[in-house]
Symmetry: C2
Subunit: 296 residues, 2 copies
């Protein structure tokens, strides 16, 4: 098997177990049908499931048993999904489509979409606390880190900064601050939680935090680059929409070549940190290139 | 000191320590200013703080040190506050005023209000996990129970059922189901969490659960009664607004006398359960009458 085939299979498998677990958990909930359907709708609307896959790879770098991360990986993906539902609302980005399908508030209604988001967020904490394979100490670390990463010090801060920045020009530093909060904190949580469950040491976790920091930035630079050079079929939206919407992006601030150069710099930094993290990090290395070169 | 004075002082003190802790926690957060201000706005907009006071009384029934519940009490009040912010949104109840002040989305904007609610909900879990006075076992129980009580199996279920019921007539049984989810689960959490932190036994917790069940219902019947017989000055809204809005209420289904009778029945059941819970429950007894007779 080639390395590429192996990675593809690894990603596909991670996606599958994540989706199966998410769907099962939600289907088995005894809750009002309208609420269940709207939660399931957004969870089953697809997605790359990169955060759960990253968490599995991070755990696998330190432990042969990756399956222990599953409920935490699902909790993280549910929080990511809730953030998309609320982001799409008329009062926020006012999007009618996501991944080619009507957004939650279009398929249901605004009130239901708000509540489905609230429910996914809240349920994610329940999922972790009820996992019998985790110790109390692990549960406290995981729920504590997840609430920090997704709350007012993390993702929600990023969303409010992002809204604020829409109406003005920002510096590269400001742009990166927004990204670090809005998407970086959850990427960091994915890496940190996986390694923690895999029993990485405190020193290893510090290097992984640095790795995840650069990985989050790579993810964002590539997003911006794809909006310039991508295939509209693959990225699922017209090319050039960022420029049209005058969004602050890496190519806008650095030019396309500058953005690509920046990305390569971050890839090197990420791999350097990973080497210091002393682990069997082959899948994390491969995923770094995958994040950097992805076409959608 | 008379019993009434003593209870008044007890309530006032519980309110004060809750409000002081909430404000301090939020003021000390290093987060974007707009987000902080909108979270503080709703937290400082007043409120009876009945849930935190109830949690303190429940802890005090089993332990001489009530102060250990404080972060959990604050977390619960933050979740209650988030639910009001989201409830008031245009897509939900579309209310412009709460407690005589502009609702969060009126004072700020809709996007900020949605995010302030999300942030309060998420931060409440962080608060509990970071309390150095609680053991890991306690934190897991508390975050797990709180997410259950406030998520899709609890409060959020109640909100979606309530929305659904607005457009039709419901039976008394259906009405009580909605209330048990929408407000009852958080009342139950308040009682259960307090007693748990106070080291009540599993058997005692079962009786307290029954007590809290009736207490939640008492709270709701009295709310409905006040809408008929209350003083508009004290309840902060015109009398008869439920009837005008054709809301499903106890007086509507049972008549005013029937509703009052129902309430007294619940008070007896609550006190009976409390007596079985084997504790120094004098404040819980007093609070039961207080809930039942409150004028606002």
């Amino acid at each position: 098997m080639t390395v590429q085939n192996d990675l593809d299979r690894y990603i596909e498998e991670g996606k599958m177990v994540t989706e199966e677990k998410m769907t099962n958990e939600l289907r088995n909930l005894e809750i009002p049908e309208q609420l269940k359907q709207s939660m399931l709708y957004s969870i089953e609307a697809g997605g790359k499931r990169l955060r759960p896959i990253l968490m599995m790879a991070s755990c696998g770098a330190y432990s042969s048993d990756r399956s222990k991360v599953l409920s935490t990986a699902v909790a993280l993906e549910m929080i990511h999904t809730y953030s998309l539902i609320h982001d799409d609302l008329p009062a926020m980005d006012n999007d009618n489509l996501r991944r080619g399908k009507p957004t939650n508030h279009k398929a249901f209604d605004e009130a239901t979409a708000i509540l489905a988001g609230d429910a996914l967020l809240t349920y994610s904490f329940e999922l972790i606390t009820q996992d019998s394979r985790l110790t109390d100490r692990q549960k406290v670390f995981l729920t504590g880190s997840l609430s920090q990463a997704s709350g007012p010090k993390g993702m929600v801060a990023g969303q409010i900064l992002d809204m604020d920045a829409e109406t003005k020009d920002v510096t590269l530093e400001e742009l990166e601050t927004i990204h670090m909060f809005k998407t970086g904190e959850l990427v960091k949580f994915a890496v940190k939680a996986g390694a923690f469950i895999g029993n990485a040491s405190a020193e290893q976790l510090t290097y992984l935090d640095e790795f995840a920091h650069y990985l989050g930035l790579i993810f964002q630079v590539q997003d911006d680059i794809l909006d310039v050079t991508g295939d509209p079929e693959k990225i699922g939206k017209p090319v050039g929409s960022d420029e049209e919407n005058e969004k602050n992006t890496y190519p806008r601030l650095l030019g396309l070549d500058g953005a690509i150069e920046k990305k390569h710099h971050y890839v090197n930094k990420a791999k350097e940190a990973l080497e210091n993290a002393g682990a069997d990090s082959s899948y994390l290395m491969l995923l770094t290139d995958y994040f950097s070169n992805r076409e959608y």
